[in-house]
Amino acid sequence: MSGWWERRRRLQAEKLQDDRWHHLLDTRRKRRRLAGAGVLALALQWTSIPVIWFAAPSDLARNITISSLAISLMIYLPVVSLLNVATKGSTGLAEHLLDERQVIERRRAITVAHRATTWVLGGLFLTAALVTNRATQDTMTIPTAIIYPLAFVLWLTHYVLPLLIAGWRLPDPPPEDD
């Protein structure tokens, strides 16, 4: 791996030690609110899927999809930044930049997230099975507009769930005594 890449990762790790936002993250209640806001942002992304399915192509579907994406990103970006600071990058940084406790924290979060995405994909499979079983003909029309948002929301769910789970589970950090 190039020295440039490693330096960039170490700089990123240092930035995540920033205590400027500590007052927003110092209690489990505050971190859980943030994780909840992250789940809300993700849920907003998912709402565009049935809208596209039932209403696309139409102005209504386009407007709802773009609005939900914009609102979702406005919530998502600060929430993800703050949760990364709260968890000190335990789900985002390379493992060799973490200590053993952080690696365990990361693996627990990834395990729970894996279970959650298994349920999400299972739900998607069941929905697909129901829709195709109810179809009366051998072929059906699916809006082309659904492909990109569905792929994106699946990727986003897979990407961000470990962070949301790590933020939700994080115990209160020990007070500074030095």
Partner: protein
């Protein structure tokens, strides 16, 4: 007490030698919050980290860690 509780004297050893959490964390190559979680008993270290902590304080590992609560000083 849960079956997996491990008690430690890190706080006492650190206070006795005037070492801050950040200094100890830096010497061991761990995050300073990890030292705090260890001291609060919310995290049990790996054998490797436990041995390194004992080596840092230059004491046998059983002086720092125990499966039984340490007796209180003066008791």
């Amino acid at each position: 007490m849960s079956a997996e509780d491990v008690y430690n004297r890190i706080t006492v050893l650190r206070a006795e030698r005037g070492i801050s959490r950040r200094d100890l964390a830096g010497a061991l190559g761990v995050h300073y919050q990890t030292i705090g979680y260890l001291e609060r008993g919310e995290y049990s270290p790996s054998l490797h980290l436990a041995l390194r902590i004992a080596a840092y304080f230059e004491v046998p590992v059983e002086v720092v860690f125990s499966l039984q609560p340490f007796p209180r000083l003066g008791s």
